[in-house]
Amino acid sequence: MDYGLDTKSTRLKTFNTIFIITWLLIACFPFIWTFWGSFKVRADFFSRSDWWYAISAFNTLIETGGKFTTNAYTEAWTEGEFWKASKNTIIVTVFVVSISLFLGTLGAYALSRSTEKYAFWILMIALIFRAMPHITLVSGYLFPFFELQIWGILPTTIVVLVAINQPFTLWLLYSFFKTVPKELDESALIDGCSYFQAFRHIIMPVMWPGVITAGLFSLMLAYNDFTVTALLLNQENHTMVPKIQSYLGTNQHEGNLMWAVSAVVSATAPLFMLVMFFQRQVISGLTAGAVKG
């Protein structure tokens, strides 16, 4: 919105700059600080005596002989079995994303091409499903899953996450499919293609941007999930986020706080890198539902 006629006063410009810098500081500093602190020992990052130790690395020097230490990382990844948690996260994420996209593209394509009334109602029901707090669904799963003895294993969690993810994926892909002109697949149908062939060979090739966006959101849901993974997986199969929570410890059991700090950094870094790379897609996905209507 560069107004050709609009000249801004310098006062307003300065104010604007200060505001943005302040906001960015609030938004980013906690992450920078955690990253910095993850290379210190606990007595420095959570100092009882002086918060400045976190910067001067007073205890880190005494305990390890250097200003920075990677002890927290090595311990969390080996002793804390964070490698196992990240392996589980990778398995869950890969399967959730691929299955979600497969089901979602098929369903959303049908919804976008159907002119029947039920397509509208399905979208409404999906919206209601989207609003369900995940924990209420989990309270519905637990008992039957115990009875069927499928609790605690990765496949169950993957299927549950796929299902929970469907309403959002459907809405997102639906709005993307709507932007692909109908004439494209109609001409293919006239030429004798079946619906599936038109979908597979005509529509999907032009849908990649939408599919990437939907994939990113499925990935973020699976990667970030706490409610489902914490309650539906056993200790052995825990993914990263519930693992981080287990490092925090409870009142009875002292956790290892520095493990949690390094695990938070390890879990967040790949996500940030991914978003940096796909920033455009993330933003188009968030706005697809809102702006395009």
């Binding site: 006629l5 307003l12 938004a27 609003a131 309270s139 970030n224 706005t287 809102a290 702006v291």
Partner: protein
């Protein structure tokens, strides 16, 4: 006709084709969203079995004593025979941990002033959680809209070249999971963290800490909520701002409208539909708040409805399925009340469109 003017024929997707395309996703949603809601509903009418007790007579030279002990064998047998528990009808809904009908009646009769009555009621677990959840929604949602809008306006005035990195920095709080986001803040705000320690120094009160005060905890969680959700509002508003038409704005500038007037009379009306969308999504998300309570270890002074369910489900002795399910059903009803205006509006639009 169709061959000469292919654009004139309207191809309708046959119901059968629609069915096969939609079957996989529909099945997934029915099995893992629809059925669990029904399952929750059924479970909410059952309660876990009481332990079976038996009298054990113990005799020694000084006489006999009768003691009551838990019959583990019998208890397990009953639990295995009827794993769902005993039928409890609406018993769980009305008990002390949920709607607490009896307690409220008692408080009503016993307390002298209305204030004391409200005090008593808001100490009951369900009402306490409900009040926290609503307070959180009430404070977070409008502030998210406001802050998101201001950031969008402000970033929109920055030179295009440097916007990319600025947007990346802005959306960071949103892409991390709430648990991690709240932990990262908690480690700074805690009495041993950088901000907490400095506030203690500033206020000259070495015992000032987040955990010591209920109000402080609530404020922190609300601030966290605004921090976490504002980027979402920002992104949507920012995208909407790109679509605001230029001509009316230029005309307004020529007519001498101030910046504020232009925002009020041109920009806001244009993005109004998007504002409702953001408000709705953010309301839905805020209503399910629960991870920050774990992240900030604030269980002591702040409990939300979702947290109550979580707490029942991770109960160490025996999982309280019935209790969790009853709270879940009431949460779903809450969501339905929140969504009702939107659904009714959409339905009306749909009817007039026909």
């Amino acid at each position: 006709m169709g061959i000469i003017f292919p654009h004139l024929i309207k191809i309708l997707m046959p119901n059968k084709t629609f069915f096969w395309f939609f079957l996989p996703t529909g099945l997934a949603m029915i099995l893992f969203i629809g059925l669990p809601i029904i399952s929750t509903g059924i479970q909410s009418f059952y309660a876990q079995h009481d332990q079976v007790v038996k009298e054990v007579k113990k005799c020694d030279p000084f006489g006999c004593t009768v003691s009551i002990v838990v019959d583990n064998e019998e208890t397990t047998k009953i639990r295995n025979a009827k794993p769902l528990g005993k039928f409890n009808a609406f018993g769980t809904y009305t008990d002390r941990n949920h709607l607490a009908v009896d307690e409220i009646k008692k408080f009503w009769n016993e307390t002298e002033s209305f204030g004391a009555f409200v005090d008593q009621v808001t100490n009951l677990p369900f009402y306490k959680a409900l009040i926290f959840t609503l307070t959180y929604c009430l404070f977070v949602t409008p502030n998210v809209l406001l802050l998101g809008f201001i950031i969008a306006l402000s970033l929109n005035a920055v030179a295009r070249k440097i916007r990319g990195p600025l947007i990346f920095g802005t959306i960071l709080p949103m892409i991390v999971t709430p648990l991690v986001g709240s932990l990262v803040l908690f480690w700074m705000i805690d009495s041993q963290g950088i901000i907490g320690a400095n506030i203690q120094n500033l206020m000259n009160d070495p015992y000032l800490s987040l955990k010591s005060s209920k109000t402080l905890t609530w404020i922190t969680i609300i601030i966290y909520g605004i921090w976490h959700h504002s980027p979402f509002a920002f992104v949507v508003f920012y995208a909407a701002l790109q679509t605001v038409p230029q001509e009316p704005i230029e005309a307004a500038i020529i007519d001498g409208a101030s910046r504020l007037q232009r925002i009020k009379h041109i920009v806001l009306p244009h993005i109004y539909p998007v504002v409702t969308f953001v408000a709705l999504i953010s309301l839905m998300d805020n209503f399910r708040v629960f991870e920050p309570i774990i992240g900030f270890s604030a269980e002591g002074s702040a409990q939300s409805l979702s947290w109550l369910i979580y707490d029942n489900l991770v109960n160490e002795e025996v999982i309280l399925f019935g209790s969790a399910a009853a709270t879940s059903m009431m949460t779903i009803i809450g969501i339905a009340i929140l969504l009702a205006p939107v659904l009714i509006r959409t339905w009306k639009e749909f009817k007039t469109a026909r």
